[in-house]
Amino acid sequence: MTDVGGLGDRSFNDSAYAGMQRAARDFRGFIEVLQSRSAADYQPNLTALSNGRYDAIFAIGFLMNEDLAAVAGLHPKQRYAIIDAVVDRPNVTSVTFKEQDGSFLAGALAAMVSRTHDIAFLGGMDIPLLRKFEAGFIAGAREIDPRTVVRVKYVGSFDDVAAGKELANILYDSGSDIIFAAAGRAGLGAMDAVKDRSGDYVIGVDSNQDALVPGKVLTSMIKRVDVAVYRVAVAARRHAPLGGHLVLGLRDDGIALSDFRYTRAVVRPQMRKRLEAIRAAIVDSRIVVPFTREGLATFTPTPL
């Protein structure tokens, strides 16, 4: 069941659907999709699906957590999964992502590429989920060069594209040459701002946004919702135990940077090598990435 964005959003919901299609192909299963038009649809949709006979029912989006908890309580034998939220029920698998780890790589890359040693984070709304991105990004930059300036601004909305552009221009004008735009559609404003600038870059988020402004989007920090959905589908197929909390990060490719398709000239081989070393260090916990501002305050770079 999709969130209000629905199929065709080229991001979150489409990614989940891609994971289901892969599972359906591999297991010769079939898929039923219900789209939510508003939050009022969550509970009726979940109930309708629960009355069918499905191996697993996926609630795509953290806003559904309370409705899912209620419906899952009434259907204890049915297997459910939710993305981006934790629902504490024995028959619900919760899937969250370590966004801070991917943001750390983005910050490290930005610090390596920046010629002004001045980079920026542009967030949507100043909420705990976005602070995971912010803290990881700043820590990643410090890992490479503690003197790199990291400016932080928030749009205050995920919709206000114009404000995203205005803030991106302010950041570029004050000396930042790379902006990590974790601001939903407001990030499209940063993509517009970078278009006519030379030597400046944007880093995209959630889905692969590299092709939006080819050559100007340094990389995208991709959240693989499809991987999450596929893994839960596999578990359901094997009748693995219900419930639990699945945290996806760099290790399982749940979080990854895009492949620098248009920016290979800027992201040189030794940078890619260094990113790979950092990635490995995060995977085996030699680097522990902070995900709050408090955690960031006590973060010290690990020599690799």
């Binding site: 964005g5 629905g6 065709g8 959003d9 080229r10 100043d126 400016r151 932080v152 601004k153 928030y154 205050g156 909305s157 919709d159 206000d160 594209v161 114009a162 404000a163 552009k165 205005e166 803030l167 221009n169 302010i170 004008d173 004050s174 559609r185 499209l188 404003g189 517009d192």
Partner: protein
Amino acid sequence: MTIAGVIGAFVVLLAIKTTPIAFAALGGTLGERSGVINIGLEGMMTAGAFAAVVASGATGVPWLGAVAGVVAGAAFGALLGVLATRVRVDQIVAGTGINLFALGSAAFLLVLVYGQPGASKTVPSLGNGSWLLVALAFAVALALHVFLVATPAGLRLRACGENPSAVAAAGIDPLRIRLLAVTAGGALAGLGGAYLSIGELNLYSDGMIAGRGFIALAAVIFGRWTPLGAMGAALFFGFFEALQFVLQGSSIPSEAMQMLPYVAAIVALVAFRGRARAPAADGIPYERNIEEF
């Protein structure tokens, strides 16, 4: 950057932030002076922003997009006008309905036209031509001021907002004047939306007006229902929003900075209290009384 560079960049940002709010606030002022409260400014801006993108994309001529934005805003303005004058729906309810209708139909048409929800494809934008719209906002403010203060038609329009019965007694149909005023106001709000979508940006995205129509509504009141006042109020909000953007990221928490324009507005409203007075018949439906004729 040099001091001059910093000030220059700030003035540019101020102009960009002010213009869409100014167009909508001027449109709102026009409507309210004729006696119709326009809660639907946000929806008219949405319609203008969307129509501008579609027309610019279809023709490849961004100025035709701006014209389409004006037409779409005027259409929604006329809708409010008809509802408020002929059908005599409560103006607040009608305006709110227009906001919801515009947002919903734009989201629906987005999928129909571009095959994708959320945001349109990019279209040709006005580029530096958008500075003409910035200048136009100031020109419209001045022209509306002269119109309302110094022309017979302006006097009639103001009379509709103060005492429509007197206008009717003089043999003029106040409902027609209200309908025209709200339609023209919608056209201005539509142009404000078009400025955002193809002036500053080059796409339409759901929710991109992001409350500017409501800020404009506040600017109408803050500007004491005068065009020059509305322009000043738009500059006031634009100034504090620009300041908020620039100062954000210093040691002050971002939530506190984002409050700045609104706190400034409340302080200013208190400071100027008592001097503002709405048109006497603002928001009151006019019903023809047989005895008048």
